[in-house]
């Protein structure tokens, strides 16, 4: 009899410690969402490098009794630390800087305007968020999703609305991975066949002097003007300086490969870990995701419309499709411009031309974030 009592108590203890005892329908829903995202990442191949870890993090976050959200330090806590203390976003920017060629932007500086115009989505979403009841700081953090820049969205959310970090990070990264689905219909709707067929002239050669001086000058100028984003832009430009200096190949290689990959794993998994049912399954989350989509679509539309204006003003030498790359999802948005352009006119290569506004979008989103921090903090 004593044996059976001990056996029953042990079984009860195992059951109480197991995840099944505390499993809620919400956890079930979020695990299904995670599985769906995994399917999109690995089967449909929608940005698997980002969406894969996000989806897996989402599944992990919804197992009860794991201790991931407790006080005890573990790997998941360490990852959350890296996000909450603004360590990962600047490191990602270091890698992006090392990977990005600023040449197209330097060769055609007018494309900076497309990067600025695409930020309209940020402010449309900001206004929308305020209308549906979010306060000004929350609205600003939600609006920045329209910049399609995950690290900047996380950076601003931590500073202005930390309680919304999970929903904002998830919306930003999800929309970034869905760029190839969201942008083309808007681009086609806003442009005519004739506009999409515009062939752009070859870019001029950019010298090494320009490539090296540019990141240094930008860092000095923007860090003095908008100190709150000095960490983000400084790291972006440092990474680019590693790339362009020609004497720091090892650092450039580490920044754009090993380091960036490691931080991407941590950042994306950590973002997925924020999709815990208790924090995520709220009406606000749904609103943020809807507003993020509005912001993203607004940014794409703003860039394309400004591209149309530039097309007319430049006597049909600028293809308006490159305007959509003004949202800063590097290099996905530029690739979408290329694909849509090629479908309209085979042989019309827009990729390098679209990289100009794409890089300008990264700077523009960071500047928009810095301005909002300066105004609202």
């Amino acid at each position: 009899m004593e044996f059976f009592d001990a056996f029953a108590v042990s079984l009860q203890s195992v059951w109480n410690d197991s995840g099944f005892s505390a499993f809620t329908p919400g956890n079930g829903i979020m695990i299904i969402v995670g599985l769906l995202l995994l399917y999109m990442a690995f089967v449909k191949e929608f940005e698997p490098l980002l969406l894969g870890p996000i989806a897996f993090g989402c599944i992990l976050a919804n197992f009860p009794n794991t201790g991931f959200f407790g006080e005890e330090m573990n790997i998941m806590q360490a990852i959350r630390f890296g996000i909450n203390y603004e360590i990962f976003p600047p490191l990602i920017f270091l890698g992006i800087g090392a990977m990005t060629d600023f040449g197209p932007l330097l060769a055609r500086p007018s494309t900076l305007l497309l990067g600025a115009a695409a930020q309209i989505g940020v402010f449309v979403a900001l206004a929308g968020a305020m209308i549906v009841g979010f306060d000004i700081k929350e609205a600003a953090a939600i609006g920045i999703i329209g910049g399609a820049d995950g690290p900047t969205s996380i950076y601003l959310a931590i500073k202005l609305a930390p309680h919304l970090l999970g929903a904002i990070a998830v919306a930003a990264y999800t929309y970034m991975s869905l760029v190839p689905m969201i942008q083309p219909p808007i681009m086609k709707a806003l442009t005519s066949q004739k506009e999409r067929e515009v062939v752009m002239q070859e870019l001029r050669t950019v010298t090494k002097f320009e490539r090296v001086v540019f990141p240094i000058v930008v860092t000095i100028f923007i860090s003095l003007l908008l100190p709150p984003i000095a960490a983000l832009l400084g790291m972006l430009m440092l990474g680019n300086l590693f790339r362009e200096s020609g004497v720091t190949d090892r650092l450039s290689d580490t920044a754009q490969n090993s380091l960036c990959n490691i931080v991407t794993i941590f950042l994306a998994t950590g973002t997925g870990m924020m999709m815990n049912a208790d924090d995520f399954l709220k009406a606000d989350t749904l609103l943020i995701i809807c507003l993020g989509l509005v912001a993203f679509m607004g940014g794409t539309a703003g860039g394309v419309i400004f591209g149309k204006i530039m097309c007319r003003m430049s006597n049909w030498t600028v293809n308006p499709l490159i305007g959509s790359a003004g949202v800063s999802a590097v290099p996905m948005a530029a690739r979408v411009s290329q694909i849509v352009g090629m479908k309209s006119k085979p042989g019309n290569y827009l990729l390098m031309h679209a990289m100009g506004p794409n890089v300008a979008g990264v700077i523009g989103t960071a500047v928009a974030a810095g301005t909002m921090l300066a105004m609202l903090k």
Binding site: V122, A127, G364, A368
Partner: protein
């Protein structure tokens, strides 16, 4: 955190868009300035359409006269296709030999090493 300077979304939108445009336009001027002071840039050649046309005409005339100076096409025995001539010429050129193919003939030498080895190769492949 202190209170925000304004909570009017329209004002925030206008101010922010203005700042973003001003900063990025300033950056475009900085890029132009860097380009202007770049000591390593190649001096821009003033391109004039008529000058271009003259240059092109001169180049064409030079090429034509060079072709005329070159000796006539190689003497090719009947039964050898132009493709074979092209392959032979390309092979000679790829060896870095300068000059011109003068004539191509079929040599019916049954003792040649190539002729002897080719059936062996075919057999070994089977």
């Amino acid at each position: 955190m202190s209170q925000p300077v304004t909570t009017n979304p329209l004002i925030i939108m206008c101010i922010n868009m203005t700042v973003v445009f001003v900063v990025l336009v300033s950056l475009s001027f900085l890029i132009k300035l860097i380009h202007a002071i770049d000591p390593t840039k190649q001096p821009e050649v003033k391109s004039d359409d008529s000058e271009h046309e003259e240059d092109a005409a001169k180049e064409t005339a030079a090429i034509i006269s060079k072709l005329q100076e070159e000796k006539s096409a190689p003497v090719v025995e009947e039964g050898i296709s132009p493709e074979i001539i092209a392959v032979i010429t390309a092979a000679i050129a790829s060896c870095g030999v300068s000059g011109q193919v003068r004539a191509v003939h079929v040599v019916n030498n049954s003792n040649s090493t190539w002729r002897q080895n080719s059936p062996n190769k075919i057999l070994s492949k089977k």
